[in-house]
Each structure stands twice: as structure tokens, then as C-alpha cells.
């Protein structure tokens, strides 16, 4: 089962993403900010995909992704999510190493094909 790390400081958002992804057959781990996500990498190894909010306390999405990309571990795709729709955020996300940038609130029918695509699973289901 593919493992996805959902990183967002809002509990309801984490729960929402968890339900969508678990129903689609993925295993989900949650982290409350970028630092906790880095700690999860240490304790639980690497994940197959990262769903990362941009604005978070302690370490934001950019900071997390930068640290992730510098790590000596198998690199996995990352989707960055933000409430802002400015081109600057999108650009920042892609420069930081995100594969995709999405704007909140997320709809399942937008998210799942992208997740499957990035995981190389096609969109057959």
C-alpha cells in the first residue's frame, strides 16, 4: 500500500485528506507542521508522496520541502497546497521542489487523479 504523509496544521484538513486518501486505498500518516514531518521521516522512513500545506508554524511547507530535497533518501513527489492563488506562491512551491501546486479547498475529484498520476498509477480506478 502506498504511504502518504499529510502535513497541515489544521486538524480538520488532515482528517479530510485522510478520509479521501484512505478511501482510495492509500495509507496516511499525519504531521502538524514541517518539523514534525521531518521527525516522521526519521522515525518512519520515507513516504511515497507528500501532501504539504504552505503556511504552517515552526517550519512551513517551503522549509519542509527544502529540507526533504536535501535529504539523502529516495525522493518522492510532493503536492503543495495553499490558500493563496498568487503566481508567486505557485512559483515558490515549484522552485522549492513541489511537483504540483493546488489551491484550497481541495476537491476529491481533483486530488485523486493527481495523486495517482504522480504515483505512476494512472487514472484507471
Amino acid at each position: 500500500m502506498k504511504r502518504i504523509l499529510v502535513i497541515d496544521d489544521a486538524a480538520t484538513v488532515r482528517l479530510y485528506h485522510r478520509e479521501i486518501l484512505e478511501q482510495a486505498g492509500f495509507a496516511v500518516t499525519e504531521a502538524i507542521n514541517g518539523l514534525e514531518a521531518l521527525e516522521k521521516l526519521e522515525t518512519e522512513g520515507h513516504f511515497d508522496l507528500y501532501l504539504v500545506d504552505i503556511n504552517m508554524p515552526k517550519l512551513d511547507g517551503y522549509g519542509f520541502l527544502k529540507a526533504l530535497r536535501e535529504k539523502n533518501m529516495p525522493q518522492a513527489p510532493a503536492i503543495m497546497i495553499s490558500t493563496e492563488s498568487s503566481p508567486r506562491d505557485r512559483e515558490g512551491a515549484l522552485i522549492a521542489g513541489a511537483n504540483l501546486y493546488m489551491i484550497k479547498p481541495i476537491r476529491p475529484e481533483q486530488l485523486l487523479p493527481q495523486v495517482r498520476g504522480l504515483l505512476g498509477e494512472g487514472d484507471s480506478s
Binding site: 507542521n33 518539523l35 515552526k58
Partner: protein
């Protein structure tokens, strides 16, 4: 214990509480812990005369002093002190942390360890015994152990090093014989160890107290920060940052995480434990 019929904590209440407690303390209860959590919550509800979970939760959230949150954390953590508690961290100290510190040390100045809070001394003496028993390089290096607490009575107790049987339950027989002597049904730590550990009074919220403690290589601060509010926790962690040498380490309790407190430190995973490090290049 409960006089009136306890009100039921619903699944939704449990979820709501779990998220709140996780955010405040970093402790996450799995579903399997439900019985334990409910039991503690009901006890605290009874103790505070709250008949419904809703009224208790409101009190917990909005009480300006945060006293009930502290009482609840106490109830949720079994906070006993005894020798070699969370021993894996001591293993981490000798097998990983000190190895790294020694490897990059350019002079033979002493290695300094700070244990806060000292409580009645089980932790600093435990570290001392662990080093003597498990760190052969102690023959080549001087180690200084400083231990601090806010409570002067408990510091006096720590200096005396007198323990009931309960505190030494994890201490192997030979070590007990080697480092303790029996005194009226109690166990007193040997004089040489008592003389080797320096105890000082420190209020971690007081910047002058904190400023007077410096240049440590390792800080043990276990199960203390969890009781503070976010701001005091952050302030204390920042003071620890300046009490450490560059590249120094801080060890927290097993249910605590620096990820919730401050981004000043780097996360380091050793085979035995996760610890936090002041960056080597930090000034």
C-alpha cells in the same frame, strides 16, 4: 471514587479531546488507549465538579491559568522518577552522543552535562552511574554533571541521595552494591558520587538563572516542558539553545517533541533515540 453516575464520553468528544490534547502537548492517544483516556477524563471531571464532558472541556480550554490542563497532563502521564527511567536515552548518550562529541573535540576540556529538573537526583546520579559502567572513555575524559531544580527542598534531598526501594527498582544488584549503601531500610548513593554531581537552584523561567548556566554539551530536560504553556516552553527552549555549545544535544522525554516547541534545533536520529541538536555552525 465516582459518586454520581459518570456521564458518557462520546466518540466525538474523544476525537475532539484527542486533537486538542495532541495540539497542546504532542501526546497522541491511539484508539486502543480509549479506556485509559476516558477513565482519566472522568476522574478529572469528578474532581472539578463537571458533570458533562462539554462543561469540562470548556473549562479546560478557557481557563486562563491553565491549571486544569496541567492537572490533566499529570493524570495522563505516569510521572514517576526512578533510577534509569527511560534508560534508552542513557544508552544513546554513551553509544552515540558522546561518541560524536568526543570525535569532534579539539581539546581535552571537560564534557559538560546538565540535567534539569534534578528532582530528587535519580536522573543525574543515574547518568553518573551509567557513564562509570558503560563509557570506557571516561578514563580519558573529564565529565561534569550539573543538575538543577527550582525547589530547594528537593535539591537538599538530591544532595543527600537517600532513596526508598521503589526508586532503585531498575538498578541491577551488583550496581546497587557498588554505588549505594543501606541506611535504615533506605539506600544512600555513595559519597563519591554525591561529591561528583553539582546541584544548583534554577528557575528555568528566570533569565538570570539561565544565563548563569552555560557551555553544556548535553542537556537532559525530560518531562518538564510538557507542563508549560506554549510561550514559556518556547522561551525555555531558546534559553537552552544558548546554554549549549554549538553542536550540543538536548534530550526530551519520550512523549515530548521539539517540533512542537521551537525550530532552533535540528532533529537527530540515533539508533537508540531521537534527540535535538544545536547546529554546529550556530553562534
Amino acid at each position: 471514587m465516582l459518586v454520581q453516575k459518570p456521564s458518557v464520553i462520546s466518540d466525538e468528544d474523544f476525537q475532539k479531546f484527542r486533537e486538542f490534547f495532541y495540539r497542546k502537548t504532542g501526546m497522541l492517544f491511539e484508539d486502543g488507549k480509549r479506556y485509559f483516556v476516558d477513565k482519566r477524563l472522568l476522574e478529572r471531571m469528578a474532581a472539578t465538579d463537571n458533570e458533562s464532558f462539554r462543561s469540562y472541556f470548556t473549562m479546560l480550554r478557557f481557563q486562563a491559568s491553565g491549571a486544569e490542563l496541567q492537572a490533566l497532563i499529570n493524570a495522563m502521564t505516569v510521572n514517576e522518577t526512578y533510577f534509569f527511567r527511560e534508560e534508552y536515552q542513557f544508552r544513546c548518550l554513551v553509544d552515540s552522543i558522546l561518541r560524536e562529541i568526543v570525535a569532534r573535540r579539539s581539546s581535552f576540556r571537560p564534557i559538560r552535562i546538565w540535567s534539569v529538573p534534578s528532582s530528587s537526583g535519580e536522573e543525574p546520579y543515574g547518568i553518573a552511574i551509567y557513564l562509570l559502567e558503560h563509557w570506557p572513555l571516561l578514563e580519558q575524559w573529564d565529565v561534569e554533571i550539573i543538575s538543577s531544580d527550582i525547589d530547594t527542598r528537593i535539591l537538599e534531598q538530591a544532595r543527600n541521595g537517600l532513596y526508598a526501594a521503589r526508586a532503585i527498582q531498575n538498578m541491577p544488584g551488583p550496581l546497587l552494591k557498588k554505588y549505594f549503601r543501606r541506611v535504615d531500610g533506605h539506600y544512600q548513593i555513595s559519597q563519591s558520587l554525591r561529591e561528583a554531581v553539582e546541584f544548583t537552584r534554577v528557575n528555568v523561567h528566570d533569565t538570570a538563572d539561565m544565563r548563569s548556566h552555560r557551555q553544556f554539551d548535553v542537556i537532559f530536560c525530560r518531562n518538564l516542558l510538557i507542563y508549560f504553556d506554549d510561550l514559556s516552553r518556547k522561551k525555555t527552549a531558546e534559553s537552552f539553545f544558548d546554554a549549549l555549545n554549538p553542536g550540543g544535544f538536548i534530550c526530551l522525554g519520550h512523549s515530548e517533541s521539539m517540533s512542537r516547541i521551537s525550530s532552533l534545533f535540528q532533529i537527530r536520529r540515533f539508533p537508540e533515540a531521537i534527540v535535538y541538536q544545536k547546529p554546529l555552525e550556530a553562534r
